[in-house]
Symmetry: C2
């Protein structure tokens, strides 16, 4: 293992401040100067450790969806399980909201978002849908509903969605996701 550097605390502070700023302000308004101010250091340190603003964003938007294995549970529950998991995942930290905000106006952010869903959601769906060749399409349909919920609830804050209880959301969206994954093609 590499020995701990003295600067590790600073690096971490920068990253944390960056995640918060990207999440709340989007790419353009999250300035290096404001991130540095939040982290209590000089803007030039950000450049030293992350090269430039794009490098900082790349480091700040590492995402792990931590999706559960769907193979071992009753087929009729996977919709609810997935929706529940995404809701919890979204509320655990701001990184996903940040990625969503950035992906909308920044091509690098959009690319990261595509990669996350292709590499992490795609494989999980492969085992549960009727024809494995259709897995990417079904995963994308699931993404459209999950991201739509995240967008209206956490970003746009459309009142009825923002105020619904998690269980209600699961009850409504679960069957949708379930159908996108397991129903015969319409």
């Amino acid at each position: 293992m590499t020995t701990a550097r003295r600067s590790d605390a600073t690096r971490a502070a920068i990253l944390e401040a960056a995640r918060e700023r990207f999440a709340s302000d989007g790419y353009d308004r999250a300035t290096i100067r404001s991130i540095a101010r939040d982290a209590g250091i000089d803007p030039s340190m950000v450049m030293r450790y992350y090269g430039n603003k794009e490098g900082l964003f790349a480091a700040a938007s590492e995402i792990e969806l931590d999706l559960p294995e769907l193979g071992g549970l009753p087929a009729r529950h996977i919709g609810a399980v997935l929706v529940t998991h995404f809701l919890e995942r979204w509320e655990r930290d701001d990184v996903l909201t940040g990625l969503l905000r950035v992906g909308v106006t920044n091509e690098a952010g959009a690319e990261r978002m595509r990669a996350v869903f292709a590499q992490q959601l795609g494989p999980v769906t492969r085992g549960v849908c009727p024809d494995p060749a259709e897995a990417p399409r079904r995963a994308a349909l699931v993404a459209s509903q999950i991201l739509g919920m995240a967008l209206t609830r956490y970003v746009l804050r459309l009142p009825p969605v923002a105020e619904m209880a998690p269980e209600e959301i699961v009850a409504w969206l679960g069957p949708t996701v379930q159908r996108y994954l397991t129903a015969e093609a319409p």
Copy 2:
């Protein structure tokens, strides 16, 4: 009626350029200077006619969803009709994509988006769901799926979604919207 002003052409050119820039670049990167350049006039004209950048955005984001009346058609078709309408509406011009882009990073854009869906989608749903008191919540669920589709297809361009034929999308999302509107509460 008020007589036509000589400047109407310029005003229209500014508005068109603004819509395109807001749609493709989002609020921050759509600069007044670039909009003026597209419109072939001086940036100060934008200020003269629209006051400031916020005023320009407000003028450029007037939206008409043109939703059809749902009362007169078979209840089991309203999901497909709605999804079809939204797809066509989204492809007709860039304004909706622009509003989506701006709503994600700009509070004024988010507010406009909330208003559009509350005032235009809300009333249409009131007539078709079991309990009128629940109409806002059901409209919001519909919005979550419709906006999720728009986000993944037109903004993030998630490949499987971006490449699906409109009929396929209608076949998959129609039943979802149908259920959100007409099913008994789960």
